[in-house]
Amino acid sequence: MNEEVWLVVPLFNEAQVIGDVVRSAREVFPNVVCVDDGSADDSAAEAARAGAVVVRHPVNLGQGAALQTGFDYALSDPGMHWVVTFDADGQHQIDDVVAMLDLARTDDLDVVFGSRFLDDRTEAGFAKKLVLRTAVAYTNLTTKTRLTDAHNGLRLISRDVVSRLDITQNRMAHASELVAQIGGMKVRYAESPVHILYTDYSRAKGQSLWNAVNILVELILR
């Protein structure tokens, strides 16, 4: 049943954790493609050892570019019906993906966005919450969507929608671009509560709040 699902994992310098992330994901979803975005460490080898397909960017291009590459790879499998975008740093839970898939199958949806703000399992700091809320307000304002969390890396997307996506924002603004493109299509989408696990590891690697400024500039000057 889960053979028709591909997990797309953008991978950049996560050698410490990627092996475990891929192994635990593959217990439920056998198809995992890691797009190594020019990592300087052993990330690609670790991911391959854990059983993932590794597509390697020859140079670092950014997370948005890695996602689009993963989409293209997943599309090359004719048996693929669903793509899940999944973070490499262990923030996301496989249980949440299963719930999203159930929701999409029962409600006949094309896209399910993960949201941190539908329940209170996720513990985000005040500043982080403020930035995320502002970002989603901006995204809702500029696109036709109504979401509670637009910058969540966990999403479930149907084959039809994936084949129509074309992410050109290589760096951080790709999340908004993705929402905008899906909002422009006439497809059925919903949100599903997810639990983002902020470990010390992910916190140390996580993007700084200054990135909000960069995202805004990338969105305005496109």
Partner: protein, 138 residues
């Protein structure tokens, strides 16, 4: 009218820069930019020979001195240069990304050949069409 050394130097610089800019690129959409550049170069020569022209323009638009006028014009020119450069750079980045992605996917198709069923089996064929799709635009 007496031509000073600095005027000769400045005119030479303007002409050289304009000529170099002229040779770069090559599309119909550039025609306007080139005409503008020509006007700009012509005006640069005039303003070197007749520096007072800036004062006259300044008075015409209500700015105190010609030097202020030059400064304002420079600020506007620099800002538009920054924005056009940013946009051109993004355009370049999109192409460069497609190229890198193509390489990455071709390599993956070679490293992970699909067993059974249609699919990308080392370039060409119907599987290749799926991979080609995103690069097909633009």
């Amino acid at each position: 009218m007496k031509i000073v050394l600095i005027q000769v130097l400045l005119i030479a610089v303007v002409v050289v820069v304009a000529a170099r800019l002229f040779r770069s690129g090559g599309a119909r959409s550039q025609a306007l930019r080139r005409l503008g550049l020509l006007l700009f170069a012509g005006f640069a020569v005039v303003s070197i020979l007749v520096p007072d022209v800036w004062n006259r323009i300044a008075r015409l638009v209500g700015v105190g001195r010609g030097t202020d006028m030059v400064l304002y014009a420079l600020v506007v020119a620099f800002l538009s240069f920054t924005v056009t450069t940013y946009l051109r750079f993004r355009e370049f980045e999109v192409r460069y990304t497609r190229l890198a992605r193509r390489l990455a996917l071709d390599e993956a198709a070679r490293d992970y050949p699909r067993t059974g069923g249609p699919g990308p089996s080392g370039g060409g064929g119907d599987g290749g069409d799926v991979l080609d799709e995103p690069g097909g635009r633009d």
